[in-house]
Amino acid sequence: MRRLEFVITRFGSTLMVLLGVTVITFLLARTVPTDPAALFLGPRARPEEIAKVAEQMGLNDPLPVQYVNYMKELVQGDLGNSISTKRPVLDEIFARLPATLELLFAGMTTAIIVGILIGVFSARWKDKPIDWGGRALAILGVSIPAFFLGMLFQIVFFRWLGWFPLGGRTSVDLRFTSPITDVTGFLVFDALITGNWEGFKDALWHLFLPAMVLAAFPAGLIARMVRATMSDVLSLDYIRTARAYGQSENLIAFKLALKNAIGPAIAVIGLSFAYALTGSFFVEIIYTWPGLGQLTVNALLNLDYPLIMGVTLLGAIAYIAVNFIVDIVQAQLDPRVSLDD
């Protein structure tokens, strides 16, 4: 019962935070220096048209009224319309979401696996050459900006070695040779479940570099965190007990200690996700990945603020959701964690 209570309380406070988040995005949207109505109608609009749309958009109401209206529309899933495409922001976002999610999923999965491995190896062989290498890798990961690493990989893996494509989600030819049937929007996954081997290879081949670039920073974060918590755990009594009973160092590091260390280390996954989310913007631009990042960058260029705020809001929601889940997963992993926060 306490577990359920914890989830409910945690959910309640999350809702409060979400409400605050909408206030911030609303205020930011109203800070935009140009007249939203004029922006919406574009440069060809006549003043009387602008006035009419301003009235319709409720821009003449007092701010609190505008906020209430904004919230009313928001709960109906209406984030307004994009200024440049005139389509509902949510439609635009959903059209791009699968591509970004696929990238994020691949990047985060890689980051978590690689990060944990580096962290564990580092801690297992603390102060040995492996540790030095692991720490260097981790610092490297958090020191290279995604927008530079992405280009570096393009020079090396596309221009010099020719191993990977420069960008895009699939080869252009693919839609004629072996089109991927849209099932989930995750191309690699779709190709796999529909048995489209060519499509699978092609999509994976395109996904590889962007996912690696995206993974670098979070992997570094996770590696450092895992190393720190693992080092702590490895010096604890129960690890000595395990040693005293003949357990091998590898079993100790990769199972007995890791299960203890992973809980605190997971806390960093929420933050890694935040970095990966913004990192995906840069990765998408560099690898012309047709996701939310490209959408946002175009929106920035056109001052398409409903779209920018929509993406910001969803980014915050995603981040909050991830943190919420991380908390719960942490609680699940460690039987001792008291859940009354």
Partner: protein, 300 residues
């Protein structure tokens, strides 16, 4: 648990962090050779930023003046890092660009501390509704991915170096509020504050005399690590066209500009990229060394 994860992803348990003296900070560098090397390189870069116009071989080109007679030339004796699409010496651009790239993040972090730290001290020390209000606000800002919030703010305020820096301050101060609040709470519970109250120090005096000094070390550690992150964030904003405006140089902007000639003229984007990487790497090495000493969690 999540609450204590910092903007660089490490857990600094503020309450448990020893209030170290500045001497201890210095001691870190006398012991750890990597950190010393990092510090020297960082100082070197900042000196370059300070004396940029003197050091740049072609200061005019560095500031943005095109040279129609030498477009995208590969590295050579005259231009050891080559020239960009507008014929400008890449090395000079990097040197002049060190100013916005390195100095502005310094100001950003300083302002974030200036705003965040006192709020954290007040929240932690006063407790009650003041604490609640400040910390709920902090939580609110921290529920956005920081860079995403900065992007949204810059979009709302308008592009440009000043607005980008402002946006980063707005996105970063809560980290310091949270950090200092942790210190403040632990200090408040300690005996010498009781003693201070007993001898009649006012709350503000206690904050000034006990809480803020005790926060210095964790703030220094955090700021070191944050500087690297803010440099990357600034570069990212410039890369997106939101930060420094062309033709002024900025490493992030230079990388962005170099993208269109990436395949034929790799040097345009690569050198500024390496520059930004070196600085951030050094900040991270220094930060790690400091944290190893001052953060008992990772101390042996």
């Amino acid at each position: 648990m999540t609450d204590r994860v910092h903007s660089d992803g490490t857990e600094t348990d503020a309450a448990a962090t020893q209030p170290g003296s500045f001497r201890q900070v210095v001691a870190v560098f006398t012991r750890d050779r990597m950190a010393t090397a990092g510090l020297i390189i960082v100082i070197l870069f900042y000196l370059i930023a300070l004396f940029a116009p003197i050091l740049a071989p072609y200061p005019d080109e560095g500031a943005g003046k095109p040279n129609a007679s030498a477009l995208t030339q590969p590295p050579s004796a005259e231009n050891i890092m080559g020239t960009d699409q507008l014929g400008r010496d890449v090395l000079s651009r990097i040197i002049i660009g060190a100013r916005p790239t390195l100095l502005v993040p310094l100001v950003v972090v300083a302002l974030a501390i200036l705003v965040g730290a006192p709020l954290g001290a007040i929240a932690g020390f006063r407790g009650g509704w003041v604490d609640t209000v400040i910390m709920r606000t902090t939580d609110l800002f921290l529920s956005f991915p920081s860079l995403l919030l900065a992007i949204a703010i810059t979009a709302a305020l308008g592009r440009g170096l000043f607005n980008a820096a402002l946006a980063l301050v707005i996105s970063w101060w809560p980290w310091y509020t949270r950090l200092v609040r942790g210190v403040a709470v632990s200090v408040r519970q300690s005996d010498f504050v009781e003693a201070a109250e007993a001898i009649g120090l006012t709350k503000m005096q206690i904050v000034r005399k006990h809480i803020l000094p005790n926060s210095v070390t964790p703030i220094v550690v955090q700021a070191t690590i944050d500087l690297g992150i803010v440099i990357i964030a600034m570069g990212g904003l410039a890369f997106l066209g939101l930060g420094t405006q062309p033709p002024s140089p900025d490493w992030g902007l230079m990388i962005s500009e170099g993208r269109s000639v990436l395949l034929s003229s790799w040097w345009v984007a690569t050198f500024p990229g390496i520059a930004i990487f070196i600085v951030v790497f050094c900040f991270n090495v220094i930060g790690d060394a400091l944290r190893d000493v001052f953060d008992p969690r990772t101390r042996r």
